[in-house]
Symmetry: C2
Subunit: 219 residues, 2 copies
Amino acid sequence: MFQVELKASYANRVAVVSQNQILQSLIAENLVSDPKGARGRLLTEAARLFREKGYERTTVRDLAAAVGIQSGSLFHHFRTKEEILKAVMVETIRLNTALMQAALEAADTSRQKLRGLIRAELESINGQTGEAMAVLVFEWRSLSAPSQGEVLELRDIYEKLWLDVLESLKREGALEADPFVVRRMLTGALSWTVTWYKPERGGLTLDGLTDQVMAMMAL
Amino acid sequence: MFQVELKASYANRVAVVSQNQILQSLIAENLVSDPKGARGRLLTEAARLFREKGYERTTVRDLAAAVGIQSGSLFHHFRTKEEILKAVMVETIRLNTALMQAALEAADTSRQKLRGLIRAELESINGQTGEAMAVLVFEWRSLSAPSQGEVLELRDIYEKLWLDVLESLKREGALEADPFVVRRMLTGALSWTVTWYKPERGGLTLDGLTDQVMAMMAL
DNA sequence: GACAATACCAAGCAAGCGCTTGGTTTGTAA
DNA sequence: TTACAAACCAAGCGCTTGCTTGGTATTGTC
């Protein structure tokens, strides 16, 4: 019992550490803003406000107040309000793509890979980047078509990770349904967790929730 | 082969007829607006525009133009813009609750009932009421809290239909995962079909899609 | 310390929004 | 035909929004 708890605690710490390493290397490569810097803090607050009130109902005055500056000052950092929205989306895709790739590398079998992807996506959606992930889903229409195109390119890289794993499972006979359809079902199902999942509810951890998803698919 | 096609065609016609009967009786009871009337036409166009551009980006001028009147005239029919949004939501829940109930009555086993609910919800989401159903999901935050409360009351009736069936399946041992979680996963998965499902894609009919969902759950 | 770059302030602009108001037109019933 | 209710028009109001502009303050570098 004590030994099991010690192992779980160590695994969590290892996972957190490597997530932090991934974040730091993305920051170093200027792919993601440092959450501690002015731009990063603004994006974090923007994601929160956009999630909470919607992009359209969040004014530049709201955004500025959230980081403690005047609204005109935002335009020193971003050309337009829309550029803020796009940055929220782009940066969360980059980070989560990297985290998904790490989850894949840590797994051996196709089934373990799928579990790793589900677990990682659930963590993205319900953890630190949850607000940005929800913004990606709910505020898509507020992006101009050119910006949508750019974000989609990044999104396609992320989606390919999923489809590759699901196609392996299909080939191995472990999955009966069409991988294309399954992925889209999972996208919807996992994205929706943002509206209802709370760890305190019945003690359902992210691992427990992942197990439920896998059970639901009889995997 | 010919006999099978004849049966399918007849089943479709029967289903369409009974859907129309359900709609007509809701209209008669003033629970839903007649799509052919001024109010109903406005709500149909509103659902379309809200889905397409978002509620916040759809102006009253847009709404008015869509039905061929001047913007000030809208306020003869609805007190505020928000009341239009709420009516779109309320009316689609009422209609789809009735359709779900009909699907339940047409089924015998718990598995058939679940299949009926999934099929009916997929039809709601991807058929005539698809725009309104998407508005229900994506525009929730634009509703004031009192209105959200009212819509939720109707929504809870609808959700209970699902939970009852899933709980039966759980008791019968056909479902391993938690019904509460499964329903929410299904909500997300099925709602998301609005973003990608097209009947022309690989010939996947609503029945075929329903089968994929059931297969994904190994049911 | 001097200078440049960066970050921020304060005031206000032009455009557009939901809605009101006074009026006209259309539909319905007697 | 008349009277009334319902539906619509046209003009415009008060307010809000994203953003600009001219300035000040702070930070970074040599």
